[in-house]
């Protein structure tokens, strides 16, 4: 009797929640038809952006531990020399200015994400707005996604990450040992109508917008510049574009 009463109360209280999958048209999260992406102006980034600042705002907001050991470090956004981030563009007489420039790299939020294909628990999945998101609750730490990602954008917590945090931001959960994590493209901020933190802290060198909208900042920048994507030949369809000249004049 008591159970039945609680059950009925339960259904009533849950009526405010959206259906789990399918019918709502929002399964997978995000707004259908959007395709969020970044356009990085590499030259401008090297001139005006402060990578330490970007990494620290990102780390503070999302409780990313700072671990020096390269085997255990947790990376959401970091810097990589041009030569390494675009290894396939191994041109003989590449200009030194390009070759020596640092490129900010992060999860590419692929259109065909290999990490999503290999995840055995669907802990990582693609939202309707193109963001490749993680459900940390479901991650079993098998690291298939780390093997599948051609960009090294995923990191496993080999030890308790909380020990490596100076300060815990109570607004975002931390992770535990044995869970893989990566850049979320600030999906929680996007859902609230805010910009991703790295774009906000980049002094205009990282543009953010809807790649499906021809009038967006990112599409206008791409229409007027020569752009490249990391290892696009693999067919992953990265959503992060890099331009070497031109964004600044047109953005």
């Amino acid at each position: 009797m008591m159970g039945a009463a609680l059950g009925a109360a339960g259904l009533g209280a849950l009526s405010g929640c959206s259906p789990t999958e399918g019918a709502s048209g929002r399964a997978g999260g995000g707004v259908e038809g959007r395709h969020w992406g970044f356009v990085v102006d590499v030259e401008k980034f090297n001139r005006v952006a402060d990578m330490d600042k970007i990494r620290s705002v990102c780390a503070k907001a999302y409780n990313i531990p700072s671990i020096d050991d390269p085997k255990e470090e947790i990376k959401w956004i970091w810097e990589e020399p041009f030569e390494d981030s675009f290894a396939e563009m191994d041109e003989a007489y590449l200009a030194d200015a390009v070759k020596d420039s640092d490129v900010p790299v992060l999860c590419n939020h692929c259109e065909e994400p290999p990490c999503v294909r290999v995840c055995p628990t669907q802990a990582t999945f693609k939202r309707k707005d193109g963001i490749v998101e993680m459900d940390y609750h479901r991650c079993i730490g098998c690291r298939f996604c780390m093997a599948a990602c051609p960009y090294g954008a995923r990191s496993l917590n080999f030890s308790d990450p909380v020990k490596h945090l100076d300060h815990v931001n109570p607004d975002f959960p931390t992770r535990t040992r044995g869970v893989v994590e990566k850049c979320t493209l600030c999906s929680d901020r996007i859902d609230r109508g805010e910009m991703p933190l790295c774009a906000e802290a980049s002094n205009g060198s990282i543009l953010f917008g809807d790649l499906n909208d021809p009038d967006s900042d990112v599409r206008r920048a791409l229409a007027q510049s020569f752009s490249i994507r990391r290892r696009a030949s693999l067919g992953t369809g990265p959503s992060v574009y890099y331009v070497l000249k031109g964004v600044e004049e047109h953005a």
């Binding site: 109360a9 339960g10 009526s15 929640c17 859902d191």
Partner: protein, 131 residues
């Protein structure tokens, strides 16, 4: 009765031992009065009308189902707002909404979970003590 005294004596001892738990329960110090759960936190004391996202009776019995649904809604479906039966809109957030009010983990969450003998790992990631 053959060895009657002994039989009666041991029968009395036997009954006393068997009935002891019932005796203790009936007359002892509140053995099964349930856990002491406190809602005495600054955030709750500030509220004019003390109201949770759902009825107290429902929250007592089924808060885990609600939280499970919220998790699916937020992480997988991107739905972050919850409208309660009273029409008030809340953010579906364990850290923000739940632990924002119930900041006394020991006296609120732990009190009942310890009593019920359940061992949870929610707080490994959702650090209620920080808020």
């Amino acid at each position: 009765m053959y060895k009657g005294k002994r039989i009666v004596a041991f029968a009395v001892v036997f009954c006393a031992v068997v009935l002891m738990p019932f005796w203790a329960n009936a007359f002892g110090a509140s053995a099964s009065s349930g856990p002491e759960v406190s809602t005495d936190t600054p955030a709750i004391n500030q509220m004019d009308e003390k109201q949770c996202v759902a009825e107290t009776e429902y929250m007592k019995g089924s808060h885990m189902q609600l939280l499970d649904q919220w998790r699916t809604d937020v992480v997988r479906n991107g739905s972050r707002e919850y409208t309660s039966d009273s029409g008030q809109v809340y953010e579906k957030s364990l850290d923000g909404t739940c632990l924002g009010c119930h900041s006394n983990k020991e006296e609120f969450c732990d009190a009942c979970h310890d009593y019920a003998g359940v061992d949870l790992y929610c707080w490994d990631c959702h650090d209620g003590s920080a808020s």
